[in-house]
Symmetry: C2
C-alpha cells in the first residue's frame, strides 16, 4: 500500500485550521457548539442526506455550496437538529450561519465568507438562537489549532466517545495532512444517515476537485455502514481544503490518486468508528459479498444483511444462524441462485454451493462470538463485490431509542 | 357495510373441510404437523414469498398449482422450514406431499389429487422425514370437521396463540362460509413474510376466480403489516374452495363483490391477529397515510413508518417523538413537501402543514400509550392513501431473536 502516517489532532491536524468546541446549553450536558475554519478560506464540497424532507442546515449548506465554492468554515451544534421547525427554523439557521461568518471575518481580518451550518439532535424544536449566538461568541474566543478534539466532542449526541482521526502522506515530496471528525450514532444507514462528518486538508483543491474526490470516498465508507437502516434528515459530510501546504491535488493525476487513497483510509476508519460506537452496540460485523452478478447486486445483498433485524439480533446473541443470511440475500433483489451460494463465518464454511456443512453451526459459534465478526457470502455468479459494516441489535439499542430525551 | 357473521371453527368452519393437528416431534413441544383438505377436492390458488431463494415447499407448491388447479388439500409442519437444505430437502418435500396425497385418496376413496406443502421454522436443516411420515399417518386418523383449531396450533412457531377466524355471509339467499388460520410471528414484512395463511371456503370457485379474489385481499391485509421488515423464505397464503355450498362466486359479478368483502374482512382480521402476536410485542399501531400523490406513494410512506426501528422503539416507549415519523416519510421516496405535511397521533394534532403544534408532544403522550395507537399522516398533495399495521420493537423481540432455538 502507501505510506500513511496516522496522527493526532483530528480536524486541526492539517496546518492552518482552527477549531473550538464549547457548551452553550442546547444539550443537558457537555459541549454542544463547534466552530471550524481556516483564515485562508477553504474550497469546500459536501454530500447530504437523500431524505426528501431534510433539516434547514442541509437546505442552507447546500445552497451556500451551490453559490460559492469558497467558505470561511463551518458552525455546528448538537442537541437540536432544526428539522420540522417551519419558517422560524430557517431563520434560525440563517442567523447561525451569518453570526459565524461575521465572527470569522472579524477575527481574521478577512472579507466575509459564508459559514456552512450543521445541526444534529431532536427533531421539531426550533433551536434557541440566543444560546447559539452566545456559543458562537465563546467558541470564537477559544478557536485554536489544537481545537480538533473539542470540536469532535461538540458534535456528539448519543455517541459515547468522540471520533477524531487524521492521516499524513507525502505527495511529490511535500507533506499533506487530512483530518476528520464524525458523529453517529443512531439512524445510521447507507446514503448518509444521522451522521455528521467534517474532513479537512491543507492540500490545494478546487471545489470541483474536492467534490470529485469526496464522492467515491464517502460511497465506499460512510455509505457502507448500517446501524438501524433509518436515514436521518440532518446528515452531511463536508470536505474543507485550505491549500496551506501549497500542494495542488488533481483528481486525474498521481497526486489525486495518492490523496484519494488517504481520504478513503480516513473515511473508512471514521465510518468503522461510528459502527463501533453504535447505539447499544456489543459486537460489530463486516460482511463481504463476493461473486455477485454486478457490484450493484453485491451492495444490495450486503445492505440487506447489514439491515436485517434478525441478522442483527443473531449477531447480538452470537448465534451462527446462517439461515438468516440466506433469507436476507434472497429478499435483497440481488440475482442469486441457491445452488451456488456459499457462506463463511470467520474461517468456518457453513454452506457450500447451497448445501449446509455438517457441524457448521457448532463450529461457527466461536467466530460468531468475536468482537468483530467477519462474514463472507459468495454468490458464485460473477465478479461483483461489496462490503458493509454493521452493529448488533441489542436491548440497549431499544432502551436508548424508547426512552430517548435530550 | 354488509352483514358478516363471525363464527368459530377456523379453516373447518366451511362445511366439507376436515383438518387435524398432531405432534410428530419436529418442535421441542406442541403440535407440529397439520393436515387440511376436502373429500370433494378443492380449487386452489396461492400467493408466495418474493424471496428469490425460497424454501422447497414454496417451490413445490407453486409447481403443483401451475400444473393443476384442483388439490386434495395441504400438509403443513412447523419446526423446520426446509430452506437451504439442498437436494435432500427437495426430496423430503416431495415425499411429504405424496404421503399426504396418498393418505387423502385412501381415506376418501377418491382419485389421488396432489397435496400442497407448507413448512415453517429453522432454516438449513433437512426435515426428519420419518417423523413427518408418522405425523401424517397420525393426523389422518384424527381428521375431523372440528379440527380447525388443532390445525391452527400445528403451524405455530414463536406464535404465542393460534390464529383462527371464520366468517359467514349470504350470497343470493344461500349461506357461504370463509375460514382461515395463520401464523406469524417474526420475519413479518410486506410481500408475504414469515407467514403462513390457509383460507378455506365452501363457495364454488374456479382456480382463476380463486386467484383473482385472493390477490387484492392479500395485498390489502397480509401485505400491509410489518413486524421486522424481514421477508421469509417460506411464506405462502393458500385459498382452497370446495364448492360444497353450491354457490358459484364470480369475480366480476355481485357474488364476487360480496365474497371479496368477506375475504377482505377475514384476511384483515387474521393479519391484525399476527401483528397483535408479533414477537415480543407490547403495543401495536395502525398508521394511515392520506393525501399522497398516488396510492403507491402512500404505501411507500406507510411502509417506511411501519418498518423504522426508531419509530418502533418510540412506540415501545410510548414516546410521541413525531420527528421520527417525519424522518421515515422523508426517507421513503414518496413525494413529500415539508410545508404541507400534517401528523396526528390519536386525535392530537402534533404537526400542521409543516409547523409543530405547541404542546403537541405533551398532549400526544396519552394516545401514544394506548394498546393500539392510531397515527395519521396527511401529505397534503393528492388523494393517495394506504394503511399499515405494525408492532413495537422491544427487549423481548431482541431476546427471542438473539436466543432463538427450536
Amino acid at each position: 500500500m502507501m505510506d500513511l502516517e496516522w496522527v493526532d489532532g483530528g480536524v486541526t491536524a492539517p496546518p492552518g485550521f482552527l477549531a473550538a468546541g464549547v457548551r452553550c446549553g442546547l444539550k443537558s450536558k457537555g459541549r454542544d457548539l463547534g466552530l471550524l475554519g481556516s483564515p485562508r478560506g477553504c474550497a469546500a464540497a459536501g454530500l447530504f442526506t437523500t431524505n426528501t424532507m431534510p433539516g434547514w442546515p442541509v437546505v442552507l449548506s447546500r445552497e451556500i455550496l451551490a453559490e460559492c465554492g469558497k467558505v470561511a468554515g463551518v458552525v455546528a451544534n448538537s442537541g437540536v437538529s432544526n428539522v420540522a421547525t417551519g419558517a422560524a427554523g430557517l431563520a434560525a439557521a440563517k442567523e447561525m450561519s451569518s453570526a459565524a461568518a461575521t465572527l470569522f471575518a472579524a477575527l481574521w481580518g478577512s472579507d466575509e465568507r459564508p459559514a456552512l451550518v450543521a445541526q444534529t439532535g431532536i427533531i421539531g424544536e426550533v433551536p434557541a438562537i440566543d444560546r447559539i449566538r452566545s456559543g458562537i461568541a465563546d467558541a470564537g474566543l477559544s478557536l485554536s489549532e489544537d481545537g480538533g478534539p473539542d470540536f469532535a466532542e461538540a458534535i456528539m449526541t448519543t455517541d459515547t466517545v468522540p471520533k477524531s482521526r487524521a492521516v499524513r502522506l507525502k505527495i511529490g515530496g511535500s507533506v499533506v495532512t487530512v483530518g476528520g471528525a464524525a458523529k453517529g450514532a443512531g439512524m445510521i444507514a447507507p446514503n448518509m444517515a444521522t451522521m455528521l462528518a467534517f474532513l479537512t486538508t491543507d492540500a490545494a483543491l478546487t471545489p470541483d476537485a474536492a467534490r470529485a474526490l469526496l464522492v467515491p470516498a464517502v460511497n465506499e465508507s460512510f455509505n457502507r455502514i448500517s446501524i438501524d437502516g433509518d436515514m436521518s434528515t440532518s446528515d452531511m459530510c463536508l470536505l474543507l481544503a485550505n491549500g496551506e501546504s501549497g500542494v495542488a491535488v488533481e483528481p486525474g493525476a498521481e497526486s489525486g490518486r495518492r490523496f484519494a487513497q488517504a481520504l478513503a483510509a480516513l473515511c473508512e476508519a471514521l465510518a468503522v468508528d461510528l459502527v463501533r460506537d453504535a447505539e447499544g452496540v456489543t459486537r460489530i460485523c463486516r460482511v463481504d459479498v463476493l461473486g455477485a452478478a454486478s457490484d450493484d447486486d453485491a451492495v444490495r445483498a450486503a445492505r440487506a444483511v447489514a439491515e436485517s433485524p434478525l441478522v442483527k439480533s443473531a449477531l447480538f446473541g452470537s448465534d451462527p444462524n446462517w439461515g438468516r443470511l440466506w433469507m436476507a440475500v434472497g429478499k435483497s433483489g440481488a440475482r442469486a441462485d441457491a445452488s451456488r451460494l456459499s457462506i463463511r463465518i470467520g474461517d468456518v464454511s457453513v454452506l457450500e454451493t447451497g448445501t449446509p456443512k455438517p457441524e457448521g453451526k457448532r463450529l461457527a459459534a466461536g467466530p460468531m462470538g468475536e468482537p468483530e465478526v467477519r462474514i463472507t457470502i459468495d454468490l458464485g455468479l460473477g465478479d461483483g463485490r461489496a462490503h458493509f459494516w454493521f452493529s448488533d441489535l441489542t436491548y440497549e439499542y431499544v432502551r436508548i431509542n424508547a426512552e430517548y430525551h435530550t
